[in-house]
Symmetry: C2
Subunit: 221 residues, 2 copies
DNA sequence: CGCAAAATTGAGAGTACTCAAGCTTTGTGG
DNA sequence: CCACAAAGCTTGAGTACTCTCAATTTTGCG
């Protein structure tokens, strides 16, 4: 395996898939792989979160997606084995590597089907992301971001109205395609209007008016 | 099959894949499927071109991608069988439908591998699209569009410096996430600067300064 | 030839960007 | 435990780009 980081290999029984895989834990802020790295498989997150991004020649990141428990990533490498993006861990995470040849083996059609579904889910999420970038104001983008984050928590059985973001403001800005300053201003506006409240410190958010945010995604404010 | 259009089924020998499929020809501007349609498989373009899009509640289209010969589309439906987007033919096209259960059958691992690669290629292309939308000016977006279009022609053995676009200006604008008027102005600017020339009528383009356009994608003009 | 759709052009308004400075939080070491 | 440095975040001012609305021209098709 050619990861840029050291990782602790652990022996754990697969709780979701029965297919072969390697599990490991990665600490905060470590890099999982870089653009151009040859990946030996698809990654699956069991816990924690990851950001996927590219850097342009100016050295600035452009964030393509945030991934959390249950998500797979590394599809970039399906076409020719080499990743078109970099992956960095946002918080201590447990991640599995599912080797390509396991995917290509066909003993296990149930897993295969699940994998294909997950590919479809990823694809749809990317489309959602693109749609936001196509025509929406900074306010609608942030509203969309909160709703998606909240819905994702809710789907996994966590509190949907109060949470801690695993990423920085800058990361969110790069993901939503706005300047960090603009994002900061929208945060301030949302607080002033009482849509959200920032608890304690910057990354802890309480959503006060989730319906307002949900409507904002489609209709202009 | 639940297409919104009538299509002529033809008996043709598959020239690329050996897996089961249904081939048909669709005329200009016909709709292949709508958001919410249950798709029975993945589509593959043998000739012609297709646009994939969603409509928002205001009735405006947001174009997610243009597809040409060799491309597959319809991955939207992998997650739950229902498409998250609509597909419309831009010019008379020959298209194959590869049923899901053919994909799930495993007699033919060669085809399967090709399919997975194609999934990866689509994914990378979507990422490219997203990257452009994240941080680039209208000028850079159009330069990128021309380069991608030209490179695609060149890869398939066609002339790369002179071509006819199968889509309208409005379609390009919706794909690049700019207003149609803005796009028109950028077109005019590119012509004035001698980067491109519009031959005969609007959709026939000759690229005069492909290197300038190529550089423009990364560096600001 | 005439109509409808597509494309262009102009003017004005608004949103987001950039640059710059100041403030807050986090982490490290004494 | 405190102090300092670095990173993260916020706020302000001015600019630039793109959008919207509206009118006109061009193209495509019956």
């Amino acid at each position: 395996m050619n990861h840029s980081v050291s990782h602790t290999k652990i022996n754990t029984l697969s709780n979701v898939h029965s297919i072969d895989r390697n599990d490991f834990i990665i600490r905060n802020c470590e890099k999982l792989f870089n653009i151009g790295d040859r990946l030996s498989g698809i990654y699956r997150i069991n816990s924690g979160s990851v950001k996927l991004y590219r850097s342009n020649e100016a050295g600035q990141e452009q964030i393509l997606g945030f991934y959390t428990a249950g998500d797979i990533f590394g599809l970039d490498a399906l076409s020719d084995g080499k990743s078109q993006s970099s992956a960095t861990i946002l918080e201590t995470s447990n991640i599995s590597l599912i080797p390509f040849n396991t995917l290509l083996k066909r003993e296990n059609s149930g897993d295969y089907k699940i994998f294909m579904q997950q590919v479809g889910i990823n694809h749809n999420r990317d489309i959602d992301h693109t749609m936001m970038l196509l025509h929406c104001s900074a306010g609608r983008r942030l509203a969309w971001f909160f709703i998606k984050f909240s819905d994702n928590l809710s789907k996994r059985g966590y509190r949907a109205d109060e949470f801690t973001l695993p990423m920085t403001r800058k990361d969110i800005a790069l993901y939503l395609g706005v300047a960090a300053e603009t994002l900061s201003r929208v945060f301030a506006r949302f607080c002033a209007k009482g849509f959200i409240r920032i608890i304690g410190h910057q990354r802890s958010i309480k959503i006060l008016e989730i319906d307002v945010l949900r409507n904002m995604i489609n209709r202009d404010d």
